[in-house]
């Protein structure tokens, strides 16, 4: 009984009382981190979701194989925006190899989980990051 009432309190304190998303998702959605563009980016990544028509752009500033700065722009649902924000937090300061190892599951976990139907949104964020790094590596290999 005590357990149950605790749960109710937790739910009602979340930003929207919405049971769809965790408080963490809502925080990142309402105040996304690293949002914007990098004018002189070293690489830009793009990912799109053909199913619902959402897109994400990810901008990287790279120094000595390490992500110095990272920004994003996303057209999509709250989960897409929150995972975009979270993936930039996670990748910032990491080496390219480390950043490539970030999985969409890790991003979702950091957000306290996503509803099953929204897992594909986290793929968007992870793929935009991967795309940006791969674009960079391709260009630098050619050099």
């Amino acid at each position: 009984m005590a357990k149950r009432s605790k749960k109710t309190v937790k739910n009602s304190s979340s930003l929207t009382n919405s049971s769809l998303y965790t408080q963490k998702v809502m925080e990142h959605f309402m105040n996304p981190h690293n949002m914007g563009e990098i004018e002189d980016a070293d690489s830009v990544g793009e990912a799109g979701n053909a199913v619902c028509g959402d897109v994400m752009y990810l901008y990287l500033k790279i120094e000595k194989n390490r992500i110095k700065d990272i920004k994003f722009k996303t057209l999509g649902c709250a989960a897409a925006i929150a995972t975009s924000s979270m993936v930039t937090d996670m990748a910032k300061g990491k080496t390219l190899d480390e950043a490539l190892k970030i999985t969409n599951k890790q991003v979702a976990e950091k957000l306290g989980g996503l509803p099953a139907i929204k897992m594909h949104c986290s793929v968007l964020a992870q793929q935009a990051l991967k795309n940006a790094i791969e674009n960079y590596l391709k260009r630098n290999l050619k050099k």
Binding site: S18, P32, M35, V51, C52, T74, L75, C77, I81, I117
Partner: protein, 390 residues
């Protein structure tokens, strides 16, 4: 934070008067309307009075009103009921592309069972052309089902004209009036309507109760077997309190209908005019004038609807969206797609529906909140030529 409810097309708060009217039928007058004793007779009388109230509002006779569990059941009973009892006359059903799922999924189910279904497309405002209905009629047509007004975009259909066509060809005509009952005048005789679905929770009544009008003499097979309730058309002990609350809500809503319609139209147009003139890249979905007095449906370029909905939610506003991201199958609403097949346009849809408790002050707050939210979301949106630019 005080919340502003702007989702009256989804459901409405139950009117105080309805709650008060229902209350005795839970405990004091708890009898089963089928019982012969005094307790039963009191309950039966309550249903009788309620039936008369609903019948009078649409110019029907009480024996033509079947109480159901709501709009969905009424739609199912009408369509399946006609389909099952008319198999000897034909197997063709005509409906429109913008019907509620309660109708659309029912006819699609019948299609699997071997019925022929013609789905009439709509114009860019969501209107059905009665001539197209007439052209679709064949010797085998056993039912035309068209909604009175659409729940998403508010577009009102030419029911009177379609009724005339149906009568001319002697085809039974079903109207889903869930969004218009007690919001627009309905006269089943003058409009040549044979079956009409209504629901209680859209007019300030409780959820889980509704009615189907079935024109006298029209045969429909019941959905389930059981006792002789509701003139042998709907077995099961009646939801007495629900029916009483439904009738009370209908009585009040019907009395206030004209005045409320004029009041809401002003509020609706205030939102539409303010947003269209102040937010670039905004668009009105549905017809500019021929729409429900309480319905506003916008599209915003470069804005995803679920994000917009949650942003408004965080500002205390309850609204709705037809965006793909908010749906379970990740496809945009079939209604928006019927108006314009470009899924990008359905992306930023926002539905605001007003009701009897909505005030001018609330409307002004809603306008401001939309302006702020759209701006905030667009700051996150990447610029993509032809997709997010306007």
């Amino acid at each position: 934070m005080r919340r502003i409810y702007a989702d009256y097309a989804a459901t409405t708060p139950v009117r105080k008067e309805a709650i008060r009217a229902m209350s005795p039928y839970f405990d004091k007058h708890f009898g089963n309307p089928s019982s012969l004793h005094a307790d039963g007779r009191i309950a039966a009388d309550a249903i009788k009075n309620s039936r008369k109230i609903i019948a009078d509002i649409i110019n029907a006779s009480p024996e033509e009103i079947i109480f159901t569990s709501g709009g969905t059941e009424s739609d199912n009973l009408a369509i399946r009921g006609i389909a099952s009892s008319n198999q000897k006359n034909g197997n063709h059903i005509i409906t429109s592309a913008v019907e509620h799922h309660a109708v659309l999924n029912t006819v699609k189910d019948l299609e699997k069972e071997g019925f022929d279904v013609t789905i009439i497309p709509v114009n860019k405002y969501g209107e059905v052309d009665p001539k197209e209905i007439e052209r679709a009629i064949t010797k085998k047509t056993i039912l035309i089902s068209v909604m009175h007004a659409n729940n998403e975009i508010g577009t009102i259909q030419p029911i009177g004209e379609i009724g005339k066509t149906a009568k001319k060809h002697s085809v039974p005509f079903h109207v889903d009036a869930v969004q218009t009952f007690c919001h627009l005048p309905i006269d089943v005789k003058r409009m040549n309507i044979d079956l009409l679905s209504v629901s209680s929770h859209k007019i300030g009544g409780p959820k889980g109760v509704g009615a189907l009008y079935v024109r006298k003499g029209l045969e429909i097979k019941p959905l389930f077997t059981g006792g002789p309730h509701e003139f042998n058309k709907r077995a099961g002990t009646e939801n007495v309190a629900g029916i009483v609350g439904f009738a009370k809500a209908a009585e009040i809503a019907n009395k206030e209908m004209e005045r409320e319609k004029r009041r809401l139209e002003k509020l609706r147009d205030r939102i539409i005019d303010s947003i269209l003139s102040s937010v670039p890249g905004s668009r009105l979905n549905g017809h500019p004038k021929n729409r429900l007095a309480n319905n506003v449906n916008f599209g915003f370029v470069g804005v995803e609807g679920e994000a917009l909905l949650l942003m408004l939610d965080s500002m205390g506003i309850s609204a709705s969206t037809g965006s793909a991201c908010s749906s379970h199958n990740l496809s945009p609403s079939h209604v928006l797609l019927a108006l314009d097949p470009d899924p990008v346009k359905a992306h930023g849809s926002l539905r605001i529906t007003l009701g009897y408790k909505t005030t001018e002050k609330e409307v002004d707050y809603i306008i401001k909140a939309i302006q702020i939210s759209v701006k905030k979301i667009r700051e996150i949106t990447p610029k993509i030529e032809g997709v997010t630019t306007y």
